[in-house]
């Protein structure tokens, strides 16, 4: 039996060199220390991304990307197709949970200073993946072609139009014309199911390759020599699986108790509904723009807001180079303070948007 197994293994090894993978799996391990818990959020984000891919492909079986048919096709999915409500609700809920998991993953990497040499590019690819997730959220939000989506897209693309120099081009490029129309819907559909997935696949491959190459980062407060190790397969993966199973249960529960609403069909000649808000992960930016005066000195307030968030985004990407490379483990530096401030800012502005 064993001889037969190795014969097949040898046959495959000669043709594919697969034992390299086997060896990688056998040697991959994870350090155990009091912050190990945070390691699970990367895998959780990846798992929810897989859920998005699967449910997204399923929705493609019935979805029709045109202004005339999009809303009706989603309505058809929700009411006629068996378990259609479940698949669509899981897709929407999982999108939100994925972005939440990505944020937790990002902040944990920030606070544990996982971006230290040689993992700078792991951080850069991860932060770009976070932006891609937001782009997925923004483009996917329009696809049901309902009132909320229509106005969210108007506002979102309008903001892009304020960017100096390239703004007008960007706005026309995103909308596929001067206004949000069926052309915008077709375009967003293309971004959502082709362009963004292609770019994400490439970046995700780089991100995962780098994680595999460098192994898990041990925080500065932990002595890497003293931390015991856990085998990735099966020990860490099984723990991952428990989390993923819990995520599936949570998704099924959310989808069943709070099925994702469809709302009313978009009407370009109807006024924006009262209380309109973007998805929660954009709310803090949306709320900030509300508070900025129309003009500060002679500069457009909106422009300042956009520049502020663009710079914040850029700073996020280059975080590894903003933080001093070496420091004693007990010295915390200013980075955690900034991280906490950012979290507080996001939380307060979001809370203000939901409470007022």
């Amino acid at each position: 039996m064993a001889a037969g197994k190795s014969k097949w293994g040898d046959w495959l090894e000669e043709r594919t060199g697969w034992r390299l993978v086997q060896e990688l799996i056998e040697h991959k391990d994870v350090p155990r220390h009091r912050h190990s818990f945070w390691y699970y959020f990367g895998g959780m984000t990846l798992f929810l991304f897989a859920v998005q891919v699967c449910t997204g492909i399923l929705l493609l079986l019935y979805y029709r990307p045109s202004a005339e048919a999009a809303f009706e096709s989603v309505q058809f999915i929700m009411t006629e197709v068996q378990f259609g409500w479940l698949i669509r609700s899981v897709h929407s809920w999982s999108a939100n949970l994925m972005i939440a998991a990505a944020f937790v993953h990002m902040f944990s990497a920030l606070f544990l200073r996982s971006f230290r040499r040689p993992r700078e590019l792991t951080w850069v690819s991860g932060s770009l993946l976070l932006f891609l997730s937001l782009a997925f959220g923004f483009s996917g939000y329009l696809l049901p072609w309902n009132k909320l989506a229509f106005f969210a897209t108007k506002v979102g693309t309008d903001i892009a139009g304020v960017v100096p120099l390239i703004g007008p081009f960007l706005l026309r490029f995103l909308r596929g014309g001067d206004e949000v129309t069926g052309a915008t819907l077709t375009r967003f559909f293309g971004f959502h199911v082709a362009i963004l997935p292609a770019v994400t696949t490439a970046l995700l491959s780089i991100h995962l390759y780098l994680v595999q190459k460098h192994g898990m980062s041990v925080p500065p407060s932990v002595d890497p020599e003293k931390a015991p190790r856990m085998r990735f397969i099966p020990d860490f993966l099984l723990r991952d699986l428990v989390g993923w199973l819990a995520a599936i249960a949570l998704l099924a529960g959310l989808a069943a108790i709070f099925p994702w609403e469809l709302g009313e069909k978009a009407d370009p000649f109807a006024p924006a509904p009262a209380g309109i808000k973007p998805e929660w992960y954009f709310v803090f930016m949306f709320q900030t723009l509300k508070y900025i005066p129309a003009k500060i000195l002679t500069i457009d307030g909106e422009l300042l807001g956009i520049m502020f968030f663009s710079i914040l985004g850029l700073l996020l990407v280059i975080t590894p180079w903003l933080s001093p490379a070496q420091r004693p483990a007990e010295k915390r530096g200013w980075l955690p303070v900034v991280g906490v401030l950012v979290i507080v800012y996001i939380a307060v502005l979001s809370a203000m948007a939901y409470l007022t």
Binding site: C54, L58, L61, E80, V81, Q82, I87
Partner: protein, 147 residues
């Protein structure tokens, strides 16, 4: 070692629960996905009669494909001036047939199937004649109806 003589160990029982749990979870995930992929039945509009054309629209030795319910049908005026209407779906492989004035018959372009002006399959691969519909002229309208 006599594996079949061993009493169930705690590990065996746990593995059993783990295995059945995993299978049940997989089933709970795959069942809705399978059902989702089966397209729901849409009730077809069972139109029993339709105005196929105006009298002035169609000349002797010509044909017109029109929509009858959710499927195409063909109205033919023979060189002698009679009207005939048929299901326009070729009985071979579902293509839509057309009228060929030069041959004075109904022809399917996909695999060169031919039907005469009574709908009978006369050459090529079609296995059955085309289903014929009733034609009535009411005023200036040509009305086609089933059976």
């Amino acid at each position: 070692m006599m594996p079949d003589q061993q009493p169930p160990t705690r590990r065996n029982i746990l593995n059993y629960f783990l295995g059945t749990g995993a299978l049940a979870s997989l089933g709970a995930i795959l069942y809705p996905i399978t059902r989702f992929m089966i397209p729901p039945r849409i009730v077809e509009s069972a139109a029993s009669s339709v105005v196929a054309a105006k009298v002035a629209e169609i000349k002797p030795n010509s044909g017109k494909v029109f929509k009858f319910g959710s499927k195409p049908a063909i109205l033919v005026q023979t060189p002698t001036g009679e009207y005939h209407a048929f299901d326009a779906v070729c009985t071979h492989l579902d293509c839509t047939v057309q009228y060929r004035p030069e041959e004075r018959l109904i022809w399917c372009a996909c695999h060169n199937g031919r039907y005469d002006l009574t709908g009978k399959n006369i050459s090529g691969p079609p296995p059955r004649p085309l289903e014929e519909f009733k034609v009535n002229v009411r005023g200036d309208e040509i009305v086609v109806s089933r059976g």
